[in-house]
């Protein structure tokens, strides 16, 4: 085996990854080549140093408390979403088509969840009959509700964190932040009302997703900026 070939095999040789057929000629070459022998020595020294690296490092003491508070917030949000969904179900004892029910759940439960500080808006809910006439629309909306619940959960979690950190922000900035969140919430409400009337409209779903992304992104950015301030 030539030097040119062997030098590309030295890493595998030191790591023990060569088959016996390849290992023997490499070993023979190392015996007569000072350059490759020196390289093997260096790789083995590096391996010894790496083996001595600590495999575990204690994380900062406060790390668990922050994880725990997120987990507990998740649990609170889940309970709230599930409570609002059940109360809506109880209010409509008559049989509803699956799509119509989804529209009702999304429009009332989801809206009230994130618009905490406002009076419950009058939300236009598409009558069940209109929704069941459009199975494709029902499928689109059904897929979106999963995504929407994720957004709602994430926004609620971040909003909680931000509430605790508000003291770090100047009052003018807090006012601007609240103004921005109101603008986004208004846009979400408009888009959701429109989607309730036109549940198969993919463009509306994408627009609504975009508005949710704005909200989550704004909350996340502000939380990150204030966390390390």
């Amino acid at each position: 085996m030539t030097h040119e070939v062997v030098r590309h095999l030295l890493d595998d040789y030191v790591a023990g990854d060569l088959t016996e057929d390849a290992r023997v000629p490499v070993l023979d070459h190392i015996g007569v080549c000072a350059i490759c022998r020196s390289e093997v020595d260096d790789l083995e020294k590096l391996a010894v140093q790496v083996a001595a690296l600590p495999r575990a490092v204690e994380p900062p003491v406060q790390a668990w408390a922050e994880i725990r508070s997120v987990i507990e917030r998740d649990a609170r949000v889940e309970r709230t979403v599930s409570r609002r969904s059940s109360s809506r179900l109880r209010a409509q004892p008559y049989a509803l088509a699956a799509a119509g029910l989804l529209v009702a759940l999304v429009s009332s439960g989801g809206t009230a969840l994130y618009l905490r500080e406002r009076a419950a808006p009058s939300v236009a809910v598409a009558p069940p009959a209109a929704a069941t006439a459009d199975p494709a629309g029902a499928a689109t909306l059904a897929a979106f509700t999963i995504e929407e619940n994720n957004y709602l959960r994430e926004a609620a979690t971040l909003a909680d964190v931000l509430e605790k950190q508000q003291g770090v922000l100047a009052p003018e900035t807090v006012a601007q932040l609240k103004k921005s969140l109101r603008i986004i919430d208004d846009a979400i409400l408009e888009a959701r009302n429109a989607l309730a009337r036109d549940p198969g409209n993919r463009t509306l779903v994408e627009m609504l997703s975009a508005n949710y992304r704005h909200k989550v992104d704004l909350l996340r950015r502000t939380t990150e900026m204030t966390r390390s301030s």
């Binding site: 040789y13 001595a52 490092v57 790390a63 390390s228």
Partner: protein
């Protein structure tokens, strides 16, 4: 002839049954205190991995580690015991790191290789790594691709195929990155 050295990390014992497995089952049922036990047992390994993946940036490593455990909590029901829990958690850590790097197009290449930051007066955080500052700093200074391949293979003991699968690259590319990492480390440690 010098003996070959296998650069493998020491595997953490993770019995199929026993107190660790009980905690996992209880946590899957929603017991946060059991999840805290899981955190206490596994977080030092995960934090060390995060620290090296994030080039020694303690703050980013802490955030990454927290993200890993939050995701682990949310996805606990997807752990079916086909592998050791620590392996599942490790893979999650690498996936989370890759996702964070991809999100919004930002790359962790902008994570800064810091040297001697623990010595800055008033510095609130320290890396917690007390041994081998030279080697740790050298690993932190590697280019991102080389650093990831090196940490996962040489430090954590993943096989080439596993790393290639997780990073979405070919085995050849992983090997090339490893070769590059070792060469750069040897150069930097010689200085």
């Amino acid at each position: 002839m010098p003996a070959k050295m296998k650069m493998l990390a020491v595997a953490i014992k993770d019995p199929a049954d026993g107190p660790g497995a009980d905690d996992v089952r209880r946590a899957q049922a929603g017991d946060v205190d059991s999840f805290e036990q899981i955190y206490r047992e596994h977080s030092p390994r995960i934090y060390a991995l995060c620290l090296r993946l994030m080039a020694g940036d303690a703050q980013s490593a802490t955030e990454l580690m927290q993200d890993v455990f939050i995701r682990a909590w949310r996805r606990l029901d997807t752990f079916r015991g086909e592998c050791a829990f620590s392996s599942w958690l490790h893979r999650l850590a690498v996936n989370v790191m890759l996702e964070n790097a991809r999100s919004d197009g930002r790359r962790t290449a902008r994570v800064l290789p810091m040297e001697d930051t623990g010595k800055l007066p008033g510095a609130a955080k320290s890396s917690g790594i007390e041994l081998s500052m030279d080697l740790e700093s050298a690993i932190a200074s590697l280019p991102r691709g080389a650093r990831m391949a090196f940490v996962l293979h040489d430090v954590e003991g993943y096989q080439h195929q596993e790393i290639a699968g997780q990073l979405g690259l070919s085995v050849g590319t992983i090997k090339a990155q490893l070769h590059r990492a070792r060469r750069l480390l040897r150069e930097r440690l010689e200085r």
